[in-house]
Amino acid sequence: MSDPKTIYMDNNATTRVAPEVLEVMMPYFSELYGNPSSMHRFGDQVGKAIEVARGQVADLLGAKPSEIVFTSCGTESDSTAILSALQACPDKRHIVTSRVEHPAVKNLCESLDRLTGHKHTITSLHVESDGTIDLDKFEKSLTEETAIISMMWANNETGVIFPIKKMAAIAKARGILFHTDAVQAVGKVPIDLQDVPVDFLSLSGHKLHGPKGVGVLYVRKGTPYMPFLIGGHQEGGRRGGTENVTGIIGLGKACELAGHMLQTENTVVRSLRDKLENGLLEKVTHTILNGHKEYRLPNTTNVSFEYIEGEAILLHLDQFGICASSGSACTSGSLEPSHVLRAMGVPFTAAHGSIRFSLSVYNTEEEVDFILEKLPPIIANLRAMSPFWEDRDKIAGGGSCSSCGFGK
């Protein structure tokens, strides 16, 4: 088969760099190569361009430019925020987070004892079967010992949105630092940090049509802060290391564009997503939507095709140039399906067969129609060779691995 045209619906993994973004970056790869810290105009013009980018990021978030710290990625931002809060509150060793966080937060929390040499207590809050969180349970989990709360704004796998404004307000009233990993939310839903009292917010350039290798940590003015990367005086002493100039300038432009595109994202992209999702649920029986239908990013749909396995679906889609992702065990190299779907209690008949489509403003209705044409026969084909499909009426969700430790 000759290489088909790429239909990219994996935008929660990464996005294409917008042409306008690439354009503003280009001069800083070549003629404008000065060091922003230098004491000459040649370098200083680069420093000024960084400040423009800082303003663009701040505008998208409803923040002050001085509250924006450029980092190398979302993961660095997450690590910086959490480790900073723990150093700022050395007598508190309790952290509240959720079971569905990105590995950048989840694995960091699991490694804290080793990293810091102190014992920490981590409360990982359960989510409901639709991926949402119970605010009462959240509030009850907070103690006098809680140093920081880290809750994602929107989930990368399901797109489910947490009530960050309410949670942050509860935390603020209790005097507890609040961090949100908003890597998936920025540019897809409106964010106004004048109105949402979080202390830290992480975002990543490549998730909103900016370049890879650049991120931001928002640090609210007055929040106690300790740098993670210690070195020079860059970023006002808050992050050592010579700036990723091209990345920062690209990210600034990407944030400006994202502000203009928010409306499109929540109308055009949303209706394309809905058409795809409704079409699949309609055309393919035994298909389940994972995640709350309303409290969700406009670009993401996560559906499970029961009795078949996700990697097989993805590789068939790949034959048609269609890019998506799966929460199945086999795609990750681990042997367990996605921790997010397991936390939601998605039954095993469905967890292994989950497929996520995440759209962007670059997708078209033709592409949605193409997927709606190609995917149903793939599902039918794989089900025809699945031993569980013919026995589906006899299987109640779990399969026969009775001693399985999953889903506990």
């Binding site: 590789l315 086999c330 569980f388 013919e390 999953f406």
Partner: protein, 274 residues
């Protein structure tokens, strides 16, 4: 993305012998929905006592489907005594190799074959008597010991790749390590006491072996081989002379060059064509 061979991709995209044999002589049913892959394997014997038909139904990833498809072709025409000699390594070899994390798919194929033969003979497999070590995936000590012996497994990761044991909650990791230690010492497989080599030492040894032995040997048959690169345990070579066009060159690479390198230098080396 997994690095699947073209054979794996072909068997995944065009699986052979999918389906059910209603009046099968033997049926083997292994794996489960919760474990992420499952295979139901059917065979029918001909009048001559050889497998005349084999079919499968598989739930799982590309390598699980490809392993199942391969298995049906491999058993066709064989007597049960011949078929039961097929190992998971044979299935993986038939497919031109599997990513190491996917070796358990070939093990599933071998298990289904065994289960179907046991089903035909009306006997119970020893597995049901074993101690369940990994509760997440229902793997017994019998399974683990067998995989260690058959595929010469040395580490916990390898055992997980081949049997899935330890790939879930991880509570059984200690027990698996004990089994590895027990099995390897009782089987008198003494871990090679080669002092750890630096990269330079390794490359030097490989070069020496090529010049001293491998190249002169191939040259005798008007062939030749060039050492192109060494990356970790991967030894990249390029066949020259008569070897370059010889149909048996792959056998030469695996059965002679790789074997020799493993004996003389390091037993984890893999020969690849550059």
């Amino acid at each position: 993305m997994w690095d699947y061979t073209e054979i794996v991709q072909d068997h995944f995209l065009n699986p052979r012998n999918v389906g059910v044999i209603e009046d099968a002589d033997g049926v083997g049913d292994v794996g489960s929905l919760s474990c992420g892959d499952a295979l139901k394997f059917y065979f029918k014997l001909g009048d001559d006592g050889r497998i005349a038909d084999a079919k499968f139904m598989t739930f799982g990833c590309a390598s699980a489907i490809a392993s199942s498809s391969a298995l049906t072709l491999m058993v066709m025409g064989k007597t049960l005594e011949e078929a039961e000699k097929i190992t998971n390594e044979d299935i993986a070899d038939f497919l031109g190799g599997l990513p190491k994390e996917k070796m358990h798919c070939s093990v599933m194929g071998r298990e289904a074959l065994e289960a179907s033969i046991a089903n035909y003979r009306g006997v119970e497999l020893p597995k049901s008597e074993g101690e369940v070590v990994c509760e997440c995936f229902g793997v017994t000590d019998v399974d683990i010991k067998r995989a260690i012996a058959e595929s010469n497994l040395k580490t916990l990761d390898e055992v997980t790749n081949f049997t899935k044991a330890g790939g879930g909650c991880g509570k059984c990791e200690e027990r698996i390590q004990e089994i590895i230690d027990e099995t390897r010492s009782s089987a008198k497989i003494i871990p090679l006491k080669v002092p750890r080599m630096t990269n330079m030492q390794k490359i030097k040894k490989i070069e020496d072996l090529f010049e001293r032995e491998i190249r002169p040997n191939l040259k005798r048959d008007s062939g030749d081989i060039e050492l192109v690169d060494v990356d970790g345990n991967d030894v990249y070579v390029s066949l020259r002379g008569a070897c370059g066009s010889c149909a048996k060159s792959q056998i030469t690479l695996k059965d002679y060059v790789e074997k020799k390198l493993r004996e003389e230098v390091l037993d984890s080396l893999v020969v690849k064509e550059a």
